[in-house]
Symmetry: D2
Subunit: 386 residues, 4 copies
């Protein structure tokens, strides 16, 4: 790398949660530099954010439109390389489209858009643009998720039969929206979140993780969505029966009303020859299951010869030195930056191990299909291939 | 207690698994004595079992019919009090009916019968007979299951919203039937097991546990059953979306092809005010979850003031001295024996904390409804109330 | 087995803890029958115990002397075969000596005596008598402890380097003695417990477990004992540096004032080639550690081909069906009964896998050496070989 | 903060482990900027490091002496503020002394020096200089360690009675030194590591953690050190009995030959009223133990009202989003930077929550006392107060 990759950010002002995470992830490996931002629609808050981030005032913008225009006008040796989009869902597509139009690469939070139509349109634009687009399904950044994927793809588990993925949270068990909690506000608001709260916010992580690790696509599903908290419009809990291509069956359950649960994403996969079990809250262990042998606890760790190359490369520390959420997130940023650096150095084909615009479209199709299934009486609803 | 309660057994000869468990459970607390048995249809095996159990030859019978007739003819001070039925499923009802006709109380393994018709008939007969009937859904015998039930019933969790129950096993991941493994043979044989293998054998435990702890009845369900192992006729895996009376939602998954899993029954219940989490493989801990407080790990232990009376009474040892599967099973036997003793002492109403014939009927309705749902295209299938 | 082995019991009346455990352990496998007892020095309590245990009044004795005399006078086909001694420590030796004199085999609770002198004397008498003597260091009865021992003895861990054994409890963190708690009363009383409370009661379990699993003898030690609760005379906490024959080093810590701890016996052994980790509170798992491979979780289970024969034989149930404290305890009783049965059948040499009188003497030497070390200024105190 | 704090680094070139960790820790919160370095005594390796870190060539120095001289000569608005020392132990003191002489604040890796004499000298110089000095006993940076400290200091556990701290590792179980592994090379070399390998490298972390959390000082100790690997000169394993001021007892064990163990630092503290248990490998949970209540699992998480202010401030993410080793390390860097910023803004007294030069001296006294105790025959050796 000859120089740091230059990042702009849209969203992530005071009170936001995920913006700060993106910034730490971008910083961790020292290959990305935040150079500008449109942190808030509120100019005062935007400026406050800029000051706190030690940015020069002239690169703290009042709007993303202004940011893209101004940055595009800067000399190349100074100009932002890519934008990180950390706004509520409804702004993802408009910001991403504007970035692409201005020639900027895009790293965007999930779910990708607020509906399938927007997602298809964005996918078309990305593919036409030749620009890099990444989606921060951050859980794919964990080393042991990469190891799990490797083991499945290497055939160690044999033909996959059953996939269990769950994502219990409890933070929306009461009517948090309207109390000043910004995270709850927009996630429960159809205008900003889209057609689903729970399935959109965390169900898509579960769906993405299952497909990322197994490489299998959901073919049809049968969903039950609930809204337990009064006056809430969108779902806050749901369970889905899954049928995958090739015959595997599955069950996905996501919840934001499971009181006392924190961020319990867990994936279990069982094949003819073996199984695996991974839990986000203890992410450095991957349990490998065998029919006739003791369970093995594979552990994350740089340089561990038991791990595949991708997993090893995703670790910064030896076994026993826990890496967590931010490090996994940073793996996406660093892979994206490396791909960008290669592009800038003239490489024409660089495919970072970062979820793509197609994965984003899958997520939107999943949400749409789940919502449709939950509302209908048909048992199985096909999930469109793309 | 003036004397030990006298037990006869049907089934449980060499090669059986659960018969030996029932005998240990019966012995543990020293209140029950095995006095006779019809352990096998094979006379040689039956006699071998009798010898090993140190029974007098004249009380080792060639058939259950002979046993009931001979025992009924013995003087009262010597006669068997109740029969423990540990045969494959298809014999449960015939043996139980014969026992009732001869005036013997019955403790029967689960699932209760091979179909709903048999179950209804048996329920009718039990209720008319005035005799005690218990069903060994043994997981209800665990102290922390009783504690969980207590906490829900006392309102500590508030209105129940979500119930997650799972039961992964891996032992039928290959075609074990036909290899001489008797357990696999009959469980995968519709003639002996009934309409379901996985849902009948372990799915009903999961269903029973969920209803026992929450006191809520399943109203409708949506099931997907699979048969992954070739040439197998019955299901070896399945997942079910559940809707309970009062609005709670749930998901139940049971599997016998989840390689590497042992006997992973687990129940999670989330209410408006709290949640709980219990796992059979570490049965002495019950996790209590709260919206705004740390998780608490309640532990089994005789005399522990943090436990309800039923849980405390179900413990034989102080905290930290693990009790397990046999002890939980023994709690059913001991409760049944105590109720019988009370009867024999003239008490007219004795309701032991042991699953009933109605619970057995619920189990059969569950199996029937799951099988029907899995075969059909309707999304929700009502589960009959009884 | 042609008949059940007949057991008499000394101690274990109302209010006792361990007597009931011994009785359950004796009952579990159906090979031992309690035929008589001297349960309490208080005649009323003794009779109450006898009634509750459904024993005939004439075999509920007022004293152990009376019991041995009366039983010895009974015809052989009816007479007690062995005595189970479950009194406070100070009575172990007198009762055992009396039993031996009357020709009865002995199964005795630990620690074996109240001092080394008594222990040596008892060992001499046992060896001269030709009778069976077993000591209920019950933790050796766990399947995974037997597996651990097997792995070490088979050389899987290579030369042993480090042994860590700990036994934290919290139940004596306050002055429980004098409040009517009989267990606390005698354990804290030098006249009944011997020279140590904590090290005698649980430290010896830790010592025995370490030596049983590794086969290595402690050669010298350096101890620190404490008494944290006011007015208590004996130790309630202690830690010991250990040096084993062959060069292994170790550390043993035992405590009865570690508030919130239940019965946390844990053993870790590290050799040149591998390590192992076992915890009594989750006894069905044995972790195997390797220098360059993932940790493996070996699980207890009847018929599991990954286990050695001794471990398999110590299991009654398949993996995932937890067995606990009582089952481990029962393994000692059942092994003792089988050896007795072989003796009664004419076998001349039968060595059950039950801790011996020599192990009991080791325990007393350990206590004496620890107490001596704690009181002195020498760094290392030799532990006599026997 | 008006600007980023400027850091220089000594050590941490290619092949080093801890240097990269320090850099990530420094970067994470965006308040520190690496501006220069003397990464290696080998000029080629030094330059390579500088290039990889995207530093201007003129600020990549050939030696720390050159770095301090050159940086001191730069204009203030550009000059390095503090040095991060990440060399092998024997260079800590010389580099730190040179930094202080040139007016630079110091953040230094542990153990602080190679002997007590050096440590005392350094302490004197730091105190005289008025400059900030921090020592990266990084485990104190974990939120739940801060919470543990808070709970003890708030009196929740009552008078402390027993402290158990352990630190098993397995990475030096074979003769890794001399195989090209730089970490092993210098740690086992007295000239670079000091008088101890295992106790110096990780035993001091354990000692520091115990004293940090409890606020109690070790008064005397009794140590056994071992060297299991042939041809190794320094200890690779050791256990220490501890006596603390106020009467608490403890045991510390550290090992680098415990095969299969990764980085198992664990602290348990038991007081009259409560206890706690923390494990570095699952650092986001702190177990709180009570005499008569269920164990509570306190969890790290920004904004969690169950945590003390220091713990909350040490979290970047909500509960369930695991933070790990780097984040804990970063907490020291960020606290140090904040204190430096305050200094630069004119504050005269700023005491960051970062281990001090006195803590560093304590560590050296601990090593020296342990080594002395291990070599001698006296049972208890006093640890000098400072």
């Amino acid at each position: 790398m000859r120089r740091k990759i230059r990042m702009g950010m849209v969203g992530g002002g005071p009170g936001a949660f995920i913006g700060a995470v993106h910034r730490m992830a971008a910083r961790l490996d020292g290959q990305i530099e935040l150079v500008c931002g449109a942190f808030s629609a509120n100019p005062k808050r935007a400026r406050a954010a800029g000051r706190e981030l030690l940015l020069p005032a002239e690169r703290v913008y009042a709007s993303f439109e202004e940011m893209f225009a101004s940055e595009a006008a800067r000399p190349e040796e100074d100009r932002m390389d890519f934008v990180s989009i950390v706004t509520p869902n409804h702004l993802h597509a408009p910001v991403a489209v504007a970035a692409l139009k201005n020639g900027f690469h895009v790293l965007c939070d999930k779910p990708m858009t607020v509906n399938v139509k927007e997602a298809r349109d964005l996918a078309r634009r990305v593919n036409k643009s030749g620009l890099l687009f990444g989606l921060t399904h951050n859980y794919t950044g964990y080393p042991m998720v990469k190891e799990a994927r490797h083991r499945v793809h290497a055939g160690e588990l044999g033909t996959i039969r059953k996939i269990m993925v769950e994502y219990p949270q409890g933070w929306l068990a009461t009517r948090l929206e309207g109390t000043g909690q910004k995270q709850a506000d927009w996630r429960t608001d159809p205008a900003r979140a889209g057609a689903s709260c729970c399935m959109g916010d965390i169900g898509t992580h579960a769906e993405n993780l299952a497909e990322y690790v197994t490489g299998l696509r959901i073919e049809s599903l049968c969903a039950d969505l609930s809204t337990f908290v009064k006056k809430r419009v969108l779902d806050d809990d749901g369970s889905v029966l899954l049928r995958f291509q090739g015959g595997a069956r599955g069950v996905l359950t996501a919840s934001q009303i499971s009181v006392g649960e924190e961020n319990g994403l867990r994936l279990r996969v069982y094949g003819e020859k073996g199984g695996l079990d991974w839990r986000q809250e203890e992410p450095n262990t991957l349990a490998l299951l065998y029919p006739d042998q003791p369970r093995r606890l594979l552990r994350a760790g740089a340089g561990d010869a038991n791990l595949c190359e991708a997993a090893r490369a995703a670790c910064r520390l030896p076994p026993g030195h826990p890496e967590g959420f931010i490090e996994a997130f940073a793996n996406l940023y660093t892979a994206f930056a490396a791909a960008l650096d290669a592009r800038l150095s003239g490489a024409t084909e660089t495919v970072p191990d970062v979820p793509t615009v197609e994965d984003g479209l899958r997520g939107m199709l999943f949400i749409e299909t789940v919502v449709k299934s939950a509302a209908g009486n048909a048992k199985w609803v096909k999930m469109p291939a793309s």
